[in-house]
Amino acid sequence: MPPDERTGDFGRVNAVIPEKTMPNACATLATEYLYERGNSFADGYSDISGVPNYIRQGYMSYSELGFIQRKTLSPEGRSEIADILYRITGLTAEEISSSINGLYEPLPFEYRSENDYSGRIPVLVDYGTFTKEMRRVDQIIGGNSAYAEKKLILFATREATYEEKYAEYEGVVKDDMVTNAYARYYCDYMMIMVALLCIFIPVSLLLRDRRARMSELLASRSVGSAQFIAVRYAASVTMALLPVFLISLIPTAEFIVWGGRHGIRVDPFAFIKYEALWLLPTILAITGVGFLLTVLTDTPVAIPVQIAWSWIAIMGTGMALMDIQSGVGGWWLVLRFNLVGGHDTIMANATHILANRVLYAALGIGLMLLTVAIYEMRRKGRIDVLGKIRFAAANRKISDSSVAAE
């Protein structure tokens, strides 16, 4: 539905507002500076027990891969930062800190606009000079920091206008044909489910052979290893994708009916499209991990390995979520976009997102092919990691008992 003009509340958007952006950036910079220097806890500010250690350790920035890093500086870099702060505000970092009631935890980039220090920290320079100083700060930190030009927008928000809200609505209706926007939102949640759960499918599928003592019967058949593994891989991927697909038929049908009633054109293939392009590569990669590790070891070791990887990816990409929106993408296994709408953001980053997805799809297929090679050796008895261990263990038991009998 289009926004209602009468409510007068259309949410907030990030924006550069010099009188807010500059003091907030300086407050954050002073805080990071003091934490990193680690000696600044003058009267009243020494109680930082609630602040986790890692936050004290440096300037937050993102690596090329989208990881959060803490950068520490050389003494020269440190004093240059102090100089820059002084040039902008006429205050030392300590003075800035006390004028904002002490140190606070530096927030993740996407929440930094929640603090508003306008009016509490003097700003002696114009915005042009300020951005120049910030560019230098970003350089000192090593790039991709909160002070990079692209990120300065994150230091302030303003109320959105009716026009903006309407444009957003139009984006959903026109560019996304409604369903595309919701399909992304749907896939965002499904991504988490899939990342954590779909590893169980290949592992249980493959371990069933051993549990059912079927492995030798299968191995002695004339079917080629490539065909044997590829068919099972495809089955496993389908089994992971099928529930997601079936559930998405419900909203698809609802949107089609709704669109028909309101005369709004919806895209009936949006959910399928995002499931195939956005979700499937993650499934391919996870299934590949499951196949490789299970065929190699004949144990469920892939489950903890994959859940750990997925967990790290979910956490990592959660932090980088805003980053995708602002243009620096992650290379994570899990892509998240917890937003209805955002067509322009997605399109602006389409190449990167596509590259990420192609990477994981290729990884999945690659792992599957590697599994074929390993299975080919296994069924000829050339690799038997677990068999050796088991045999040794069984023998030990026997010799233990014979020793006991003597």
Partner: protein, 237 residues
């Protein structure tokens, strides 16, 4: 059609354990028994013949193919391991259908062949039972069914009579003897009677070494019984 198995100087080591020690053996069509105590190397030999285990030394050819041509050999052999089972929730005919598919049989071939094979092992009435509902003897018969499904010319069967009751054991021997018409059937056992009642020829393995290979009559020779001959052959007085 080549149904011969030729083994020359075959050795197999697992680390320091010598499981097979310079075994040479020539097997032509018919039923061939492989006798040996626990740990004699029977399973090891059968796994090598079924291309499931690499040899350490020697040369082996199965049905005219060198042992390295695994895919060709798998097409012409049927293998029933000593220990095996099926996915418990499959029905008997589904289990066969799946394994037939993996042997490259077409839909039509499977449709006609599976009922035949089930009749042959006397499981036709039970074709819709689930595998988990089969008795031990029925499961072994299903094992034979899967091994002969693609009409292999060489059949390798590990310990087929272990754990069967006397009547079922007799059935089983008769079945193997019948299957040996025009095929090579090699089966391992540590039960002397199995060999005595069925095989014209046998090989005896003892700690990885071949201690006898030939006609049953020659094996018994001047001894009173097969047991006595066996004890003499493996050198335990």
């Amino acid at each position: 059609m080549d149904t011969e198995i030729t083994i020359a100087n075959l050795s197999k080591r697992y680390g320091k354990t010598i499981a097979l020690d310079g075994v040479s053996l020539h097997i032509k069509s018919g039923l061939y028994g492989l006798l040996g105590q626990n740990g004699a190397g029977k399973t090891t030999l059968m796994r090598i013949l079924a291309t499931l285990l690499p040899k350490s030394e020697g040369s082996v050819s199965v049905g005219g193919f060198d042992i390295s041509q695994a895919k060709d050999i798998r097409r012409i052999i049927g293998y029933l391991p000593q220990e095996f089972s099926f996915y418990p929730s499959l029905r008997v005919r589904e289990a066969l259908d799946y394994l037939g598919l993996l042997s490259g049989m077409s839909n039509d071939e499977r449709k006609t062949r599976i009922p035949d094979v089930l009749r042959c092992v006397n499981l036709y009435e039970d074709r819709n039972k689930r595998v988990k509902a089969l008795s031990g003897g029925m499961k072994r018969r299903l094992g034979i069914a899967q091994a002969i499904l693609h009409d292999p010319r060489i059949l390798i069967v590990g310990e087929p009579t272990a754990g069967l009751d006397p009547v079922e054991r007799i059935h089983f021997r008769e079945m193997l003897a019948a299957l040996a018409e025009g095929r090579t059937v090699i089966f391992s056992t540590h039960i002397i009677e199995d060999i005595e009642k069925t095989c014209g020829r046998l090989a005896v393995l003892n700690r990885g070494a071949l201690v006898f290979n030939g006609e049953l009559a020659d094996f018994i020779g001047s001894e009173d019984s097969m047991e006595a001959a066996y004890i003499r052959a493996i050198g335990e007085a």
